[in-house]
């Protein structure tokens, strides 16, 4: 298809070490979320039929990434929702820090339909990186599993 890779898993001894890519920060955040759900199940099998909306804040971009992923993880654990489509509409900056608004699409977890990979315990700051190059942003982070 010639499409660029959205994310990949890097070598890490104990947990899931993710590199997520995007042409801008918003797209990289979307692909980071996709990668997290791909740790848990096959994202291709998550039908994006239910729409939801998320707003998260963070004092810096690292905290914003952490809080974004954690908010999605909490959605899974409390509402049993899996997501496969993300649209980060806005990442804004104020003196207080950063804020993100996103529309997300997914469906309720169904063990019959969604193959089980491994549960994510938590997002971490360990080795978290935001690497900026012209027209390409790479996010690196580790999920505790």
């Amino acid at each position: 298809m010639g499409e660029e890779k959205k994310f990949e898993f890097l070598e890490h001894m104990a947990d899931a070490y993710v590199a997520a890519y995007g042409k801008d920060l918003a797209e990289a955040f979307e692909n980071a979320a996709l990668a997290m759900f791909d740790v848990m199940t096959k994202v291709e099998d998550i039908t994006p039929k239910t729409e939801d909306y998320l707003e998260v804040k963070g004092k810096d971009e690292y905290a914003l990434l952490y809080n974004w992923l954690e908010a999605l993880l909490v959605k899974f654990e409390t509402e049993e929702m899996l997501y496969s489509k993300f649209q980060v509409q806005e990442i804004s900056r104020s003196p207080k820090g950063f804020a993100l608004k996103a529309r997300i699409w997914g469906e309720k977890y169904d063990p019959q339909k969604h193959v089980q990979k491994v549960g994510v315990k938590a997002v971490t700051y360990h080795r978290m990186e935001i690497i900026r190059k012209p027209e390409k942003i790479t996010l690196k982070f580790i999920l505790d599993i």
Binding site: F9, L10, E11, H12, M13, A14, D15, A16, Y17, M40, T41, A63, E70, V74, F76, E77, T78, E80, Y109, P111, V115, Q116, K117, V118, G119, K121, A122, V123, T124, Y125, H126, I142, D144, I145
Partner: protein, 484 residues
């Protein structure tokens, strides 16, 4: 990666990292043989040991145990004690899975008694104890109000609900309840994650095994723990505080980040975020952490209850007939206020055990009365399909490791590499060829948790034994594995 970190050999099993950096307040000590040490030098384990030595108020040395590997902030397999008044408490020194721990249950059955029903029993347990991705219970859910009571009263509360026997609580670390738990210090998000997950095993490296005693090394102590003969069937439950504890850790990492700025604490790593022991932030964290500790004890208690129920379903007899007595339940990720001798003086300290097992000696008032003449049981689970260990705490541990020893095998191969090399179906087949019954929620987890992906737990137990920080009592091997 950490090859530049200077190491001095003290004995075959003890290595010292001198205070080679200006910020280090104490040296590092690594308990490992040469092989385990070489492995630690391939990731950031030793760097993290050095980082921990920067914590304000840290006493004696930053300790890395034989199963040490790279974690978040602290190495996994790390111990640090800081002064109660002048030191700090760090959620990173406990970890995301607060009171991830192990429980060992002894039956009065032998392998031959159980073999004909082994598959049926494993199926019953697999059905009665939800495990795997997003596992939750349909039959035992608590409201937020009930959850508050559960985390304040711990194991005794669920025993009062009929999920246990009266003597169970006595055989848990802290008698299954840290008294300072305060649910007002826990976020609604954490509680929402917690309400549906009591009595579930979770995923990743957590497991439940039916085992048999393979070898007894210390007959007198084994007998005191209820382990009477080789071939005796035991049950091991390895899990933690589920999403409830993970969220509490995450919430308080944020609080501690602000505290680091407020109290102007200089740290080499964001994930070592901490607060002075006497601060409001520290008190709040310690009260919230205790809630997660009690949640995890309770989680393992209810799982044990459903294991006992599974015996009843399969053998159609009262579970008491099969023994099924709790040997001990011990935490692997915890911070505690303890008294330890430091340079001849008795000090009140915050002991952080991140992937470490408390290993108190005979006579210690904190261990159950019926074990006080021998010492505290130490439980070291192996990886899937390998052996697990029962050891006993020692006076030496009080002298050199703040009453602590190793907690497990520790990974040797990444999950990504394990998945490339192994396929879940093959792993299952290989285990079954050895007569081990396997029930797993996820084939991916089977591959990721393949036995060669871990260090040899026997070597970890050897180092603990040879250093003397917990000595061998018995080794167990699996008959059946239930895996998330």
């Amino acid at each position: 990666m950490s090859s530049k970190i200077p190491l001095e050999r003290l004995t075959d099993y003890t290595w010292r990292i001198p205070q080679y950096k200006p910020g280090m307040r104490v040296p590092g000590i690594v308990f490992a043989n040469k092989d385990l040490l070489d492995k630690m030098q391939t990731d950031r384990t030793l760097q993290q040991c050095v980082n921990v030595a920067h914590l304000p108020g840290i006493y004696k040395y930053s300790i890395t145990l034989p199963d040490g590997h790279e974690g978040y902030g602290f190495p996994i397999g790390g111990v640090a004690a800081t002064d109660y008044d002048e030191g700090v408490i760090s959620p990173g020194g406990v970890g995301y899975d607060i009171n991830c721990g192990v429980r060992l249950v002894a039956t009065n059955l032998s392998e031959k008694d159980i073999r004909p029903k082994l598959a049926e029993l494993t199926n019953a347990i697999f059905k009665n104890v939800p495990c795997g991705l997003g596992s939750r219970r349909k039959d035992f859910r608590v409201t937020e109000h009930v959850l508050d009571r559960l985390v304040m009263e711990g194991v005794q509360w669920v025993i009062d609900q009929g999920l246990g026997w009266s003597e169970d609580a006595e055989h848990c670390e802290e008698r299954g309840c840290m008294k300072n738990a305060n649910p007002d210090k826990v976020s609604t998000t954490a509680k929402n994650r917690g309400v549906t997950q009591i009595g579930t095993l979770g995923s990743g490296n957590h497991f439940l095994e039916i085992q048999k005693v393979d070898k007894i090394y210390d007959e007198k102590t084994a007998k005191a723990f209820g382990i009477t003969h080789e071939g005796q069937v035991t049950i091991m439950i390895h899990c933690g505080s589920r999403g409830f504890g993970h969220q509490i850790c995450s919430d308080y990492l944020r609080v501690m980040e602000r505290a680091v700025h407020k109290y102007k604490i200089a740290l080499p790593d964001r994930e070592l975020a901490c607060a002075p022991g006497k601060s409001k932030e520290a008190e709040d964290y310690y009260q919230a952490m205790a809630c997660a500790v009690n949640y995890a004890f309770t989680n393992r208690q209810t799982i044990m209850h459903w294991v006992r129920q599974s015996f009843q379903q399969v053998f159609k007899e009262d579970p008491e007939r099969f023994g099924l007595k709790l040997v001990y339940d011990v935490a692997h990720n915890i911070a505690k206020i303890e008294n330890h001798k430091v340079n001849g003086k008795r000090r009140k300290v915050w002991v952080h055990r991140k992937g470490a097992t408390r290993a108190f000696p005979y006579g210690h008032p904190e261990i159950p009365a019926d074990y006080r003449s021998v010492g505290q049981p130490v439980l070291i689970p192996g990886s899937m399909g390998t052996s697990s260990w029962l050891l006993v705490g020692t006076e030496k541990a009080m002298e050199v490791s703040f009453g602590s020893t190793a907690h497990g095998a520790g990974r040797m191969m990444s999950r990504t590499a394990a998945k490339k090399r192994y396929w879940g179906g093959d792993i299952k087949k290989a285990l079954e060829q050895r007569g081990i019954v396997v029930r797993a929620a996820s084939s991916v987890v089977l591959a990721e948790e393949a036995d060669p992906a871990y260090k040899n737990v026997d070597i970890v137990a050897d180092v603990s034994h040879n250093v003397g920080i917990a000595t061998k009592v018995a080794r167990m091997v699996p008959l059946a594995v239930v895996k998330g």
